[in-house]
């Protein structure tokens, strides 16, 4: 049912960081510096001044007790769809940043499939203007080809100089091998990754869900895993041939995980991400015909899901990213075939990841933090936020043991298209701090 959400799209929800702030009794995990300790953090004027044991009695300023909670470097979602410009009814840069902060993220990278797409300096500038002075840092990802049409390269050098951190035609694959080859070759000059939405669309036309037993039972169009595998294999070969950096978006097929693993072993410069929904749900979820189970790539089989867990565990998949894709209720409350692909993910990623990776023993907290707060920065050539003196405070605080139920009315995204509504999760965002601001999660 549709809910009239009173979204607090107002800066009031953000607070400025007190001049002196003490984060007390936390478990501090900073994987890039091999830190995993219990202690306190002092922040003065937005900058970390002390990490260790602080005498509370002698401290003047605001104190937040973080007993039982984890402080980590600020989390990044490197695969977010903010719908601005074009579909501000579904998400704006402002509401997307709010959803990110609520979900425990301090940085998002926004994909270029807006209307118009991010293929000119003007749009990059627009996004930067709209996200200026916010708690959440927004980094645009520019289109590979003009209009995302797969025909002509965008002005990649200039777009990168203006602030694009990667290039991608996400939402669509680059179907021409020649075009992809040139994109990789050209991007190598600035060493940004080319992010591939891997789908051979000649094989997926009319597809709604994973091709297999469930699509057979439900009579829905199939999207075969091999359509993903073919493109992953092709682009790995092109990355090897050109020496450029290739990043696979939203891996969903077990076979593709294996292809990435083999490529890495050969020293090819390939990195990969997986989404929380692909490693926690399977095509079985589609049986309800709930359109919030419709996304591209689709939910796959249990064997694929297990392969993703294996890839996350052995480091083949170094990033967890949400593919946050807001859609209006009107569009999603429709016949399955007519509903658009995509689900939101910013506000459930942390809970789903801790529930399905940490509490099941697949990954340690340190490994999860690496996949959200270290590796994405590294891949995108951005400084990794650290927890050490003289560094601006860019922090994510979460409670790994808190149990909660996902409720639609708690989302701060403008959209509510989540298959996790009603799910009970263990692990909850608590607080984010960045750019002199702080935000307590309202989930």
């Amino acid at each position: 049912m549709k809910l009239t959400k009173t979204v607090i799209i107002s800066r009031k929800a953000y607070q400025s960081v007190p001049r002196r702030l003490l984060l007390k009794n936390a478990r501090i995990i900073d994987p890039s510096r091999d830190v995993d300790m219990r202690g306190d953090i002092v922040i003065q004027d937005g900058v970390i001044t002390q990490v260790g044991q602080v005498n509370e009695a002698a401290f003047e300023g605001r104190i937040i007790d973080l007993t039982g909670k984890v402080v980590s470097p600020g989390w990044m979602d490197m695969h977010t769809h903010l719908r601005e410009p074009g579909r501000e009814d579904e998400e704006t840069i402002e509401s997307g940043m709010l959803a990110a902060a609520n979900g425990g993220f301090t940085t998002v990278c926004c994909m270029p499939n807006t209307q118009p797409p991010i293929d000119t300096q003007e749009i990059i500038q627009y996004i930067k203007d709209r996200s200026r002075n916010a708690l959440v840092d927004v980094h645009p990802i520019a289109a590979i080809t003009k209009g995302r049409e797969g025909k002509e390269l965008t002005e990649i050098l200039e777009l990168v100089e203006q602030g694009a951190v990667a290039i991608s035609d996400d939402g669509s694959p680059v179907m021409s091998a020649e075009m992809m080859r040139r994109a990789l070759e050209y991007s190598r000059m600035v060493d940004v990754p080319v992010i591939g939405h891997e789908e051979d669309i000649t094989m997926t036309e009319g597809g709604d869900i994973n091709e297999g037993y469930t699509s057979t039972c439900l009579g829905l169009g199939g999207i075969p895993t091999v359509a993903e595998d073919i493109m992953v294999a092709r682009d790995i070969m092109l990355a090897e041939y050109t020496g450029a950096r290739f990043h696979v978006a939203h891996l969903s097929s077990g076979k593709s995980v294996e292809l990435v693993r083999q490529a890495k072993a050969k020293g090819i410069r390939v990195t990969a991400e997986a989404t929380p929904h692909h490693f926690s749900l399977t095509e079985e979820a589609v049986r309800s015909f709930d359109t919030n189970t419709k996304m591209n790539p689709p939910l796959r089989t249990e064997a694929d899901r297990r392969a993703l867990l294996e890839g996350l565990k052995d480091g083949t998949i170094e990033v967890i990213a949400t593919d946050h894709a807001p859609h209006s209720w009107e569009e999603k409350e429709a016949e399955y075939q007519r509903a658009p692909f995509g689900i939101i993910g910013l506000e459930t990623a942390l809970g789903v990841s801790l529930t399905h990776l940490y509490h099941t023993g697949v990954l340690t907290l340190v490994q999860i933090i690496e996949k959200f707060a270290v590796n994405p920065y590294r891949i995108l050539n951005l400084p990794i936020p650290g927890i050490q003196p003289d560094v601006p405070a860019n922090l994510t605080v979460f409670d790994p043991e808190a149990e909660w139920q996902v409720k639609e009315e708690r989302f701060l995204s403008k959209s509510s298209n989540s298959p996790f509504i009603g799910h009970r999760l263990k692990g909850k965002p608590f607080l984010v701090i960045n750019n002199h601001q702080l935000f307590f999660s309202t989930l």
Binding site: E211, G212, Y213, S215, T216, C217, L218, G219, L220, G222, S288, F289, E330, E333, A334, E335, Y336, Q337, R338
Partner: protein, 310 residues
């Protein structure tokens, strides 16, 4: 026996007892259809909407006749899904109709799951009259009734479904229903028209009709959608007919009297030759008669009726 369910969305999950109840009730209704006065007051005062978003003269007429025989008030809504005017969704259409206080909805739609979507927005009983390539439960029920009336049972009968299995809601519903009733089910067609992992539903897959015919008690020949050729799923009607078309010559390989069924409308000379369609083995016209009886039974039972009627 009553039917303890609100909707009939598919044969998946319908139990053996439920199927038996529906088929027994349908048999009683069939007797009523033989009487000079064919109308019973069972659904008097109830309003049924036939919501057809896809053209289907046969199924709609069959449901309408069933509803008339049960004395229901009938509203017909027919529109191609594509012509539902822009901005107005299936849901809007149904909400408008529901404001008219209806009791039952019979829905045909090109999109799998459309009937399931309706159950989330309307209070009425929903009957799936075909949703894309998903299910068509009343067709499977009438097919099963035809087999049971002709052969006396469903248990251990071998039924072969021949043709485009991939896009066939009739095939899917038949597979669920027949397997539940203990029949052996073979599917046969070009490999490009057999969907992935279909074996997991407990059927055997064949690509050669001539291997299937000697084993079968029933051939249920599915309609070939001619657009599948354009999609590159088979090369030509000629080749299809030569290798998968059911002809009198092929039927000579049968080891026992075969029942020939077809859900209609037929492409004569493609999946079935005329001499087979019109032969003594063909029960295609009986299927139409049983269709009305089965639909009366489903409407009656979902409305809360008991299987004993008079």
């Amino acid at each position: 026996m009553r039917l303890d369910r609100k909707h009939l969305l598919g044969m998946d999950g319908v139990t053996r007892e439920e199927i038996t109840t529906i088929l027994n009730t349908a048999r009683s209704f069939r007797e009523i259809l033989e009487r000079p006065i064919k109308r019973v007051p069972t659904l008097q005062g109830k309003t049924v909407v036939n919501l057809f978003f896809e053209p289907s003269t046969r199924t709609r007429i069959s449901f309408e006749l069933a509803e008339k025989r049960l004395s229901a008030d009938i509203i017909n809504f027919t529109a191609a899904a594509s012509s539902v005017k822009k901005g107005e969704t299936l849901i809007d259409t149904v909400r408008n109709i529901e404001a008219m206080k209806i009791d039952m909805v019979v829905v045909r739609h090109s999109s799998p799951g459309a009937p399931h979507l309706l159950t989330r927005v309307v209070d009425a009983n929903v009957i799936n009259a075909g949703d894309g390539g998903h299910e068509h439960p009343t067709q499977a029920l009438l097919d099963m009734m035809t087999i049971r009336e002709k052969l006396g049972r469903l248990q251990d009968i071998t039924v072969a479904l021949v043709g485009d299995i991939s896009h066939s809601r009739v095939a899917m519903s038949n597979i669920y229903g027949l397997r539940t009733m203990g029949a052996r089910v073979l599917v046969c067609g070009p490999s490009t028209l057999i969907p992935k992992d279909i074996e997991r539903l407990g059927v055997e897959v064949y690509y050669n009709v001539d291997e299937v015919i000697p084993q079968a008690d029933v051939l249920n020949i599915l309609r070939l959608q001619l657009e599948r050729q354009r999609q590159g799923l088979f090369p030509s009607l000629r080749e299809y007919h030569n290798y998968f078309g059911i002809t009198r010559e092929r039927l000579e390989k049968a080891t026992r009297t075969l029942l020939i069924m077809h859900p209609g409308p037929m492409n004569r000379g493609v999946e079935i030759s005329s001499d087979v369609a019109d032969s003594e083995h063909s029960v295609i016209l009986e299927q139409v008669t049983y269709g009305v009886a089965v639909r009366m039974a489903v409407l009656y039972l979902l409305a809360g009726g008991k299987s004993e009627i008079n």
